[in-house]
Symmetry: C2
Amino acid sequence: MTAPRISQLTIIGVGLIGGSIGQAARQRRLAERVVGVGWRRDSLDRALALGALDDATLDPTAAVRQAEIVVFCTPVDQIVAQVVHLAPLCPPGTLLTDVGSTKGAIVRSLDGRLPTTVDFVGSHPLAGSEKRGPEHAVPHLFEGRLTVITPTEQTRPAAVARTRAFWQALGSRVQLLSPEEHDRALALTSHLPHLVASALASILPPEWAELTASGFRDTTRIASGDPSIWVGIFRQNRDALLDALNRLGLRLDDFREALRADDAVRLDTLLSEAKIVRDALGS
Amino acid sequence: MTAPRISQLTIIGVGLIGGSIGQAARQRRLAERVVGVGWRRDSLDRALALGALDDATLDPTAAVRQAEIVVFCTPVDQIVAQVVHLAPLCPPGTLLTDVGSTKGAIVRSLDGRLPTTVDFVGSHPLAGSEKRGPEHAVPHLFEGRLTVITPTEQTRPAAVARTRAFWQALGSRVQLLSPEEHDRALALTSHLPHLVASALASILPPEWAELTASGFRDTTRIASGDPSIWVGIFRQNRDALLDALNRLGLRLDDFREALRADDAVRLDTLLSEAKIVRDALGS
């Protein structure tokens, strides 16, 4: 690692993602001190016990006063308010970033709204699971995974470079996208699958639960995610998600027509196209 | 195992399922001899090397002449013709069964069409994966899993009991359903998830493949299944699959309306209902 050591890394929200950032930063000796902010003492105590933090506090204002980098790992519908509240309390030069699954609403709301002494750059590490809480954190969560960084026209290049170095130091690869392109892509690659998994899970009659196997379980696994988190994501990325849902609907219509017509060739084509795409992704 | 040892178990089609039956039967010393029938010598050689068979042949007629139990592990659209062809060549008292993912079309086609000296009972072990071939066989595939047996009014109770004992001896639990109820349930628990996974995979633009994470991968994993196998399954269970697709469509409409209305409460309800169902299934 060639980046200079961070004096203090502050993590707002120490769940699966925040806890994993803390564990990775501490194992990699990325920061002199990793400070976590939470809303429940027991959750912070677990994060401390799991090696995710050097110090923990319920007071976010105290936690940012000496921060060099602050990462917001809170639900997407809380990030803007928290950043607006805490940015003025950060020392000059502080880099603020987040891990939210939506970027447009967050990044555009913050553009031009923060003190010029600090920088905010949107990030989204494509890592996580349907699980919650620091007990599911793992220090290798970001290794080999992709983090998308979403600068705007107003983002200073030096801040982008610092954000990139931060995620790379955690083991992640980095890609830059506009907030809008991020949101269009993630609507299809993440938010729509969540919606579909939920729709599929919810139409299962209880008496048929015994008749599910790995196919149903795989396809619906993410429906176990926290509803309140996902309501926020869906609402912040509503337009792109509706577009993605319409695209899926058209393809479901193709299947429906091929089934109605008992068209073996068409069904084979539809399934073969999907197999090519899926095989290319690997396991 | 209290069931008497089977003199010869013949497996028609030695892929993932057939190979796993062979491995389990041999490890559990369930049969004096396990004979596999295939269509390619190299596939049979792999099955022999993997301990799935005592003997292998390309000639199904030779393989059934001394069989006590014959299990058809071939695509659903081939099973009926194979059973009709081979049943008259089996010794009196032979039990024939299958592992097809659809049951109505197979079982109803065979009712009353076989020599009275043998029995056919439909089976469907709810096990497998998107993978193919004997190299993916595992002897524990059926342990703790459910096998559905689908007798009709014409099935002799003694044949049902033998079929049940066979699957239990492989480590499976057993449930009896009518072929039609099996197909209605599996349309929703297996065939619809496959269709949805395929639809989702196929609308992914290649340039966004990098932006997928475990959610997309889980949700679409089964789209890697063999299209020709699944065309047969979809066509044999067309009506029930169309019904299941309509049910899913109604729930997707619920999500679409809630998104359009930006209705946080309704979105939360939809996601929460799904989470309850999915959490109850376990990982």
